[in-house]
């Protein structure tokens, strides 16, 4: 089933991507081509097959709860586009108070 413009815009919103009207048509065509291609997987009988999420059996390795050296605040925030007092500033997310920009 092909994705419509509305479907694409929904996915774009989930992905936090803004698509311009110019981009929408080509993106829809490309995605539908790829989805048509991958639909061949539906032909396989996969009843009872366990999915391989990871080739290594992963578990969260534990270590002793002891502080180890880490980056200082200045170092950790040095790449932030807008930083003040060791904090990342973002545009206002709630009404009231000072804006971040």
């Amino acid at each position: 089933m092909d994705l419509s413009d509305a479907d694409i815009l929904h996915v774009a919103r989930l992905a936090r991507l803004h698509l311009t009207p110019d981009e929408l048509g080509p993106v829809r065509a490309d995605l539908n081509r790829v989805l048509a291609y991958v639909s061949q997987l539906q032909k396989l009988d996969l009843e009872g097959v366990r999915p391989t999420m990871h080739v290594v059996e992963t578990h969260a390795p534990l270590r002793e709860d002891r502080p180890e050296p880490s980056l200082g605040i200045a170092e950790a925030t040095k790449n932030g586009p807008v930083v003040e007092n060791g904090m990342f500033l973002v545009p206002r997310i709630m009404e009231g108070g000072a804006s971040g920009e």
Binding site: V11, H54, T58
Partner: protein, 483 residues
């Protein structure tokens, strides 16, 4: 003595460790090569001439004993620009990282430095390693040293081209679906993707975390062994790096059973590639090995599974680029608008396409049909290999069905671009080691031969490929052939 830039890492290190040549002379020779060639090739995104020369002079002050103790002392190394470095910028081939300067070095960088390597620069790649041609770099395409109208492959195209054009003897790449092996094949160099978990991914900018693996790109098998020896090992900073690995004992037989999967040798392979591969297979037989036809029946489904799993993981990994903690921020309105505008301006078309595809594959109502199904197919692909390796020691295939294509030839058709990965993606899906070695030339362009081995047989794989390297014609370099 031949030109310093024509020597492999092994030879350079030996000369340096014996006191015959200085590290400064080695670095200068390679900087001159970069100066002369990179305006045509475009392999580098950043060259740290000053830093490399400083480090070289430091190493020149080392005693011969100190030089010998460090297996890569005196050796210039380039890094694919998705490996983070404190003293050089890291872009991942994307505009979205802006002027990012990592506050830490990747584990492989620490290991290279400890081993005496001299970091000389960062190489071009498809944005976030998503691509097979290096045309999707946000900065400029890289060109193939064998023919500048052609792509070097990708996504580690800058690393492959830099090594092929003798601008550096060693570069690191990363391989998610073939991104080391395919450009190695197109550029006529050796490229190895280790077993998943062998090399730490700490400091590798994540694309698809369950598939990504860093590996060496070199001009000889002995160099790949040297570099692999330095960079692999468990790392507390990467929970997927393998710990307490019992090294497998390879077969002591002098004659191996080598599997040729019939799904890889069917239609669609370029005639020139077939001829070169057939000759290499004859050489293997000449060495006394037995060639056995095998089947990997789910090969045809690998690309479809890969192009669901990799974008799904990428859509999650790339959610961190939101204009808040690092990289560029586009201005505009409220927080949501800032996120969307930043990502719209910062990401290129291929990255957006994959993020959208991955988001869709993971979204409510589609997860089972797409993502979960693909992960089950992945199990089938693993089982295919498990079964094959019950009867054969190694598997040998062409690395790619064709030789390097002309820039722009596949730009308008994502599926066509994706299908070029058909011979390489299964190793990532199954987590097994694979490498591509140059097997010869077809119409003046390099052809790569791929070796695959069971999980953890990385060292054995390098040894096996080296036995073939010894009997093949030595790979020339582009200028020799054109001259």
């Amino acid at each position: 003595m031949s030109e310093l830039w024509a020597m492999d890492a092994y030879a350079l290190h030996e000369q340096f460790a014996s006191g015959a040549i200085s590290a400064e002379a080695i670095v200068k020779a390679h900087l001159d090569r970069i100066q002369a060639w990179d305006s045509t090739i475009g392999a580098f995104l950043f060259v740290d001439a000053e830093g490399a020369l400083r480090r070289a002079r430091e190493e020149d002050a080392w005693t011969l004993d100190e030089r010998r103790r460090r297996p890569l002392s005196g050796v210039p190394v380039a890094l694919k620009d998705n490996i983070v470095t404190r003293h050089m910028p890291t872009t991942a081939g994307s505009k979205i990282l802006g002027a990012f300067l990592s506050p830490y070095d990747a584990t492989v960088v620490d290991k290279l430095m400890d081993a005496g390597a001299i970091l000389i620069g960062k190489t071009n790649l498809d944005e976030f390693a998503m691509g097979s041609s290096t045309e999707h770099s946000a900065f400029h395409p890289t060109r193939n040293p064998w023919d500048a109208t052609r792509v070097p492959g990708g996504s580690s195209g800058g690393s492959a081209a830099a090594v092929a054009a003798r601008m550096v003897p060693v570069a690191l790449g990363s391989d998610t679906g073939g991104s080391i092996r395919q450009p190695a094949s197109y550029c006529g160099v050796v490229g190895m993707k280790p077993t998943y978990g062998r090399v730490s991914r700490y400091g590798l900018i994540a694309f698809a975390s369950s598939l990504d693996q860093i590996g060496p790109m070199t001009r000889s098998l002995r160099d790949s062994r040297l570099v692999y020896g330095v960079i692999h090992g468990s790392d507390p900073h990467d929970s997927t790096s393998l710990t307490n690995v019992a090294e497998p004992i390879p077969s002591q037989e002098q004659r191996w059973r080598i599997g040729l999967p019939r799904e890889f040798f069917g239609d669609g392979m370029d005639d020139g590639v077939r001829r070169v591969i057939d000759q290499a297979l004859e050489s293997l037989q000449g060495l006394g090995h037995e060639l056995v036809e095998i089947s990997l029946p789910h090969t045809d489904y690998a690309i479809a599974a890969y192009y669901l799993i990799a974008p799904a993981e990428a859509s999650s990994n790339l959610s961190r680029y939101d204009g808040v903690r690092y990289g560029m921020r586009a201005s505009g309105g409220d927080l949501l608008n800032m996120y969307e505008t930043t990502r719209d301006e910062g990401f290129g078309d291929e990255v957006k396409r994959r993020v959208l595809l991955g988001t869709h594959a993971l979204s409510a109502g589609y997860y089972d049909a797409y993502y979960l199904t693909a992960q089950k197919v992945r199990t089938r692909i693993r089982e295919d290999f498990d079964q094959a390796f019950q009867t054969v020691d190694y598997i040998v295939t062409p690395t790619t069905p064709d030789t390097a294509f002309v820039l722009g030839a596949r730009s308008d058709d994502p599926i066509k671009m994706y299908l070029g990965d058909i011979f390489t993606v299964t190793a990532n899906l199954a987590g097994i080691p694979g490498l591509s070695m140059p097997a010869g030339l077809a119409a003046g362009l390099p052809v790569g031969l791929q070796w695959l081995a069971p999980p953890l047989f990385d060292a054995a794989l390098l040894d096996a490929a080296e036995t073939l390297e010894r009997v093949l014609q030595p790979m020339p370099w582009p200028e020799e052939v054109k001259a």
